[in-house]
Symmetry: C2
């Protein structure tokens, strides 16, 4: 099948620099961080504001794309499980999905709460969390 | 910044073939559909079963990647809004995100309920919906 080209729209700026320090999920102690977008894309943020919950899509560029099964959460006492049944970064297309709250927007820079992505992680997309139909 | 290569892992098989017929969100009347994965990737489905809620990532290959603002839901009476504040398919990296329930798994084919993606849509990833920490 045809391959598609992802073009990063920005990078994460975070105090998290070491995979060993990264919490596995944001509610396990992740720091606040900045999403630094390409300045030309600032107009695409219009309509977002402090307090909004958004879904952040990243590219987990250190992942192994050939892995099809893992021990969940790296715990070898748990049975090997298909990667599509886990959130492991190793998978054919290592897209990271993070639900974050916006703390502030300054031009093309977005401050967010509790992001478990490492410093320098490429950003792919931002979408609003999906609320009820009436609010769309 | 460096671009990344997405390799589709399969295609959607659906009775939805026309953009004009596609509901904007799955709870607005989308049909059941099949996710037909590359047969070599079937082991990556191990651990998923009927009744599971998963997040399906697709590539919206008909999207316009240069669009930065849209009228939400195509309603021109609503003000232009940045694409990152909307779920519009037109965006720099047109990744589709769909929450679906698994109805059945037959080898590399996964039957899912209420999917608004068109027939032939490339599939990028499948992840479990994130439950409470205790269940991970």
């Amino acid at each position: 099948m045809t391959a598609f080209e992802l073009r990063p729209i920005g990078r994460v700026e975070s105090t998290l620099t070491d995979l060993g320090d990264a919490p596995r999920q944001p509610d396990e102690g992740a720091p606040d961080a900045w999403l630094v977008l390409d300045p030309e894309l600032a107009p695409a943020l219009d309509g977002l504001t402090r307090g909004d919950e958004v879904l952040l899509f990243t590219w987990l560029d250190r992942a192994d794309r050939e892995t099809l099964a893992v021990h969940p959460r790296g715990d070898t006492t748990r049975p090997l499980t298909g990667v599509f049944a886990t959130r492991a970064p190793d998978r054919p297309n290592p897209i990271g999905l993070h639900a974050v709250e916006i703390l502030a927007i300054e031009g093309h820079r977005v401050h967010v709460a509790h992001l478990e992505a490492l410093d320098g992680t490429p950003i792919l997309d931002v979408k609003p969390a999906l609320g009820p139909t009436s609010a769309r």
